[in-house]
Symmetry: C2
Subunit: 317 residues, 2 copies
């Protein structure tokens, strides 16, 4: 059932001992939303614990510092930034069927919770949490402000992407004006720093860029042999697809990664207006307008020709 802020407030003010579930492969938005909601619940005297299938990682130390996990048997189950219980990982089995409140911003939210506070226009779950805190009249602590800023900055690509709302900017302005948050340090942690491995792989993959269709299509193809010589697994090359659209002329970029069985995972990215989800649908895959995928098998040259033809057609439309 979709609910509004008043019903969400009523629920939170009358609940006790809550577990707050965040999604697997956690990012700044679900971590910020989880810890931010934890702060808000503390303010109204409700004990809570933030859980995740994966650990939050050292990058988020500025948010997790000072958070201590309390030991209690949960009476209330809340999910934040989770569109589908599958994203709970190991917590799906324990809590998936008994989520009492979900706070989310994904249009694709499956409605698995008893109550869902959804703002599909919000940049981030943290934007919804902020609106809820304002509605409740709860004082936002400096730590909570850091959490909410982090989530909004993360999901908007530091206010860069088209999903950024005017509200996201306004909340950021208030977080900066009213609290002494070191937003530049947060942004460096979220956007600028890289591990040695990532720097090396980006450099290697960038040097492998191939241009097609007058540079409007960029393909980076990594075979099993290449992965062996680079010393990485296919999973370690997750998250590198965006480098395929860094070239100024690129409209579409594709990262190809060969699985052990000789089949290639094809990760598409769109730089501007081309809907790569549509292209991938014609190739048996799917996804979003700006990020989609499919698989392809055969020899690499034929695959490249096949993908180039599909992209050419889309560009001609």
């Amino acid at each position: 059932m979709l609910i509004g802020f008043s019903e969400a407030e009523q629920f939170l003010r009358s609940c006790k001992d809550a577990v707050i579930i965040t999604h697997r492969n956690p990012d700044g938005d679900c971590i910020g939303a989880g810890l931010g909601l934890h702060d808000i619940l503390s303010e109204i005297g409700v004990r809570s614990r933030v859980v995740c299938h994966d650990s939050f990682g050292a990058r988020y130390a500025f948010l997790t510092e000072g958070y201590t996990e309390e030991d209690f048997e949960p009476q209330t189950v809340i999910a934040v930034d989770i569109a589908d219980t599958q994203l709970m990982g190991s917590y799906e089995e324990i809590y998936g069927k008994r989520v009492q409140l979900c706070i989310d911003h994904h249009e694709s939210n499956k409605g698995y919770a008893e109550r869902t506070l959804l703002n599909a226009k919000a940049t981030a779950a943290c934007e919804v949490i902020y609106q809820l805190a304002k509605h409740m009249g709860v004082e936002i602590t400096t730590h909570c402000a850091m959490c909410l800023y982090t989530g909004i900055a993360t999901d908007s690509g530091c206010f860069k992407y088209s999903c950024t709302t005017p509200e996201a900017h306004e909340i950021a302005a208030e977080m900066m004006r009213s609290y002494d948050i070191d937003f530049a340090r947060i942004n460096r942690a979220m956007f600028d720093i890289k591990s040695r491995g990532r720097i090396r792989l980006e450099a290697e993959l960038s040097s492998m860029m191939e241009e097609y269709l007058d540079g409007r299509l960029v393909i980076v193809a990594v075979t099993q042999d290449m992965m062996k010589s680079m010393g990485v697994s296919i999973d370690e090359l997750e998250g590198f697809a965006p480098i395929t659209i860094q070239l100024e002329t690129a409209e579409v970029g594709i990262l190809l990664r060969e699985r052990e069985d000789g089949v290639f995972k094809c990760s598409f990215r769109s730089a501007n207006d081309v809907n790569v989800s549509k292209i991938c649908q014609t190739l048996g895959g799917g996804g979003h307008a700006k990020a989609a995928g499919c698989t392809a098998s055969g020899d690499l040259d034929s695959i490249k020709t096949y993908l180039t033809d599909a992209v050419r057609k889309a560009l001609e439309e």
Copy 2:
């Protein structure tokens, strides 16, 4: 003479046929400020022309499209985003001594103009232009909104850096809410796309990173021989210093470039709190807290030791 918004308005409303000077090596802020002020002057019936020592470049086509240069003999000289007449390039000789109004946000502004409208707390010159337009009650056109957004996004690193003000966020929110500006496309043009040459050089320089002091110092050293084999000049390696602080552990990064005479240009960057201007001052150079430079001569290994010692001292303080 420092002036306020009322005096600036009075001056602009009574001037005619203005030339608006932007700084050499133009960036999104001076281009946005120049073209944005041109739009505002058009609104109040004042003819103007935006000039620059260098061309604005294809990256800014979304701002320059539709701007046509009118031919007239300037009666009024205005400078935007220019702290010092030296930054005017070839226009310094013609206009440097007779700038009637300067609109700027640099604390270091030399006060060379008859009237200076300065807001040293503003993120960008475009923020000052926005405040002026609001003060004047001039309607901001969609093109003007794009110009001002571009300048604010540019100088704040897309709202990432510590110089970002709450006002910058609030103006961005208004530009997004009131005008149909494609801010995501602007941001891609400003921040995400790279030329083939830049991608290649970033990859090459990243692969040359050397770590010192447990990774807290990163040095990338490029000798004349390396430049020859990379096929680039020392000038083409301008603007790459930030890659030295991308490593997660880096506090200080230094890009060394060998000049033909065997002397190395040392470009320092600080990731967080280390004041690299102070370090460079002890080495005979100078600059800003987060970006500074000096020169060093001798054999490369000795220079690295000498620079590492200086950074170690700063880190220990």
